[in-house]
Amino acid sequence: MYPQDLKYSEKHEWVRVEGELATVGITSFAQEQLGAIVGVGLPEEGAEVEQHAPLADLDSMKTADQVFAPVSGRVVKVNRALEEHPELINDDPYGDGWVAVIEMADPSELDGLMSAAEYEAFVAEEASKG
């Protein structure tokens, strides 16, 4: 149900690791909960982020939320296409809807993230709490 090659955070971000680079987005579960996303506030390229700190702002028809950095590091690239087309997050959360690429400061932080199976169990648990 969730892509096997990604790592997942409790705040519903996914991470795709390629060497020192971590591409970050939000999960299909998260975008479904938020509903239609209508605006994205991206970080500056070059900005330093701490793990768990806000990375980007999301406006949806239902609410306003944030994308949190699942790992610490430097933002080396942001998905500018989201500024004109925020719907990419809804339509393709693991592909064209990626949010930013972080050059990781401490790749060992990845050990604290979940696998696809663990995240699926985590989401089921959250849902049962209502």
Partner: protein, 490 residues
């Protein structure tokens, strides 16, 4: 049924104005203004006759929903009926013809009204001193936080106290105001009963916290019975308590934030004290404080000295002015008239009826809609469309369907801690007949959700327009009219 825009009604040469003969010497505008300030072609303003202009805007106004048209149970907004006599008071020429630069001795009546209103608000809130300057609720929040910041700074504590705690059920303006004031926002969870989770609060509390911002009753319409303990936890760590007065309509004459342990509070005169609101104001968000914070209030403060009312600017620790002149004066007049008309007993009755109406609606609707926090509510309560969700019916569908019954929809998808939230605030000014009509509509909608969910998905059916594509409107907003050829070229 769409209607043409005023621009689309335009015919060259028509006009809705008639000016008298010019009785001063004519001058060419190019002689009076620098070249860059003179436009080179005429502005593309619509040209319509007077009667067409009047009809256009009258028709638009008829498409509005307001409290004077029908029930408006918009949770957290206190859309109560505002007696027209308060408009009469605010329209008295002695008030409307004032000039803010008039000397104090010529505006004693206005100053007395402001002074007395400040005293009344302090009495209602259990506070010591007040400012009437802030223009609305969020402005009051910012003013209150600036006062808190100035207080900590005066004690040499300002640099250390960088955080403001806000519960996860808070109004969105609370974290926004705290961030705007330069604070880091820390969120604390709600407990199973809907109040502040005390363990989360204790864990978040430290000598880095400047204040806790709280609404009580909170956005679930529930009174936090732990408020005295909450105040102790915050005060013991040197923090202050900020009261968001958005829900003041629930407690007037019954409980006072000052007695609960709050140090600062803002009122929404335009919610609680009889000024129509929504659509941009003007509002008024007075801030009242405990004595220790009074030196930091904005200047000027209206004072009474030797039987005269004066504007006191001599407050060296003041955070300064937060608005031009003295605030939105005409809103103050309405609040003053309202408070004087009701008196202490009447204000208490208003809150009692607001709470009674909310509990009546909640009990009538609970068999048909999920009630996530099942306990006595105050002036509002939160339902959820959880039962209807099984048939694929969302809160938005229910809200749209209500329009066909002539009701404004409740607040939806807020507070965020309730999924598919439906937040209902009937206020004290509605009769039992109106409440029963609303209950009937909600029951019919619940039945429809089981029998014919499609009818709800396509609602509303009786409005001048059907279900709007609000997602595209948000993603691709068309913010201004353009002549057809320009719009096409784009």
């Amino acid at each position: 049924m769409t209607m043409p825009l005023i621009f689309e009604r335009s015919e060259a040469g028509r006009k809705a104005y008639s000016l008298p003969e010019c009785d001063v010497p004519r001058k060419d505008v190019a002689e009076l203004l620098p070249d860059w300030a003179v436009r080179k072609s005429a502005a593309a303003l619509p040209e319509v006759s007077e009667v067409d202009l009047v009809r256009h805007y009258t028709k638009l106004s008829q498409r509005n929903h307001g409290v004077d048209v029908g029930f408006y149970p918009l949770g957290s907004c206190t859309m109560k009926y505002n007696p027209k006599v308060n408009e009469d008071a605010a329209a008295l020429p002695g008030f409307t013809s004032l000039h803010p630069y008039q000397p104090e001795e010529l505006v004693q009546g206005a100053l007395e009204l402001m002074y007395e209103l400040g005293r009344y608000l302090c009495e209602i809130g259990g506070m010591d001193e007040a400012t009437l300057q802030p223009a609305a609720g969020a402005h009051g929040e910012l003013t209150g936080l600036m006062i808190i910041k100035a207080y900590h700074e005066s004690r040499g504590d300002g640099a250390k106290r960088t955080k403001v705690i806000v519960p996860d059920s808070a109004h969105g303006t609370n974290p926004a105001s705290a961030a705007f004031c330069g604070y880091k926002v820390v969120e604390v969870k709600s407990d199973a009963r809907g109040g502040v989770d005390l363990d989360s609060l204790r864990a978040a509390m430290s000598d880095e916290v400047a204040a806790l911002m709280l609404t009580n009753p909170n956005t679930l319409g529930l009174f936090d019975e732990n408020i005295v303990e909450i105040a102790k936890i915050v005060h013991d760590a040197g923090g202050l308590l900020y009261y968001d007065g958005a829900n003041m309509n629930a407690i007037m004459g019954i409980a006072r934030p000052g007695d609960m342990g709050f140090d600062v509070l803002h009122f929404n005169l335009h919610k609680t004290f009889s000024t129509p609101h929504g659509g941009g104001g003007p509002g008024s968000g007075p801030v009242a404080v405990k004595k220790a914070l009074a030196p930091f209030l904005p200047v000027p403060v209206v004072e009474k000295k030797d039987g005269k009312f004066v504007l006191d600017y001599d407050r060296p620790h003041s955070i300064g002015k937060v608005k031009a002149f003295y605030g939105n004066f005409n809103v103050m007049v309405k609040a003053y008239a309202y408070i004087r008309a009701l008196g202490a007993k009447g204000l208490r009755e208003a809150s009692e009826n607001a709470v009674l109406n909310a509990n009546y609606l909640m009990r009538k609707l609970a068999p048909y809609y999920h009630l996530p926090y099942d306990r006595y509510c105050k002036h509002e309560f939160v339902l959820s469309a959880a039962y209807q969700l099984a048939a694929g019916v969302h809160t938005a569908d229910i809200a749209k369907m209500l329009l066909d019954y002539g009701f404004h929809a409740p607040t939806v998808y807020f507070p965020l801690i309730v999924k598919e939230a439906i937040m209902v605030e009937p206020t004290e000014t509605e009769s039992k007949d109106t409440l029963d009509a609303f209950v009937s509509a909600m029951i019919e909608i619940a039945q429809l959700a089981e029998k014919d969910p499609e009818a709800l998905h396509s609602a509303p059916h009786k409005m001048v327009v059907g279900r709007l594509d609000d997602v595209t409107a948000a993603r691709r907003p068309v913010l201004r009219w353009r002549p057809r050829e320009q719009a096409n070229a784009k």
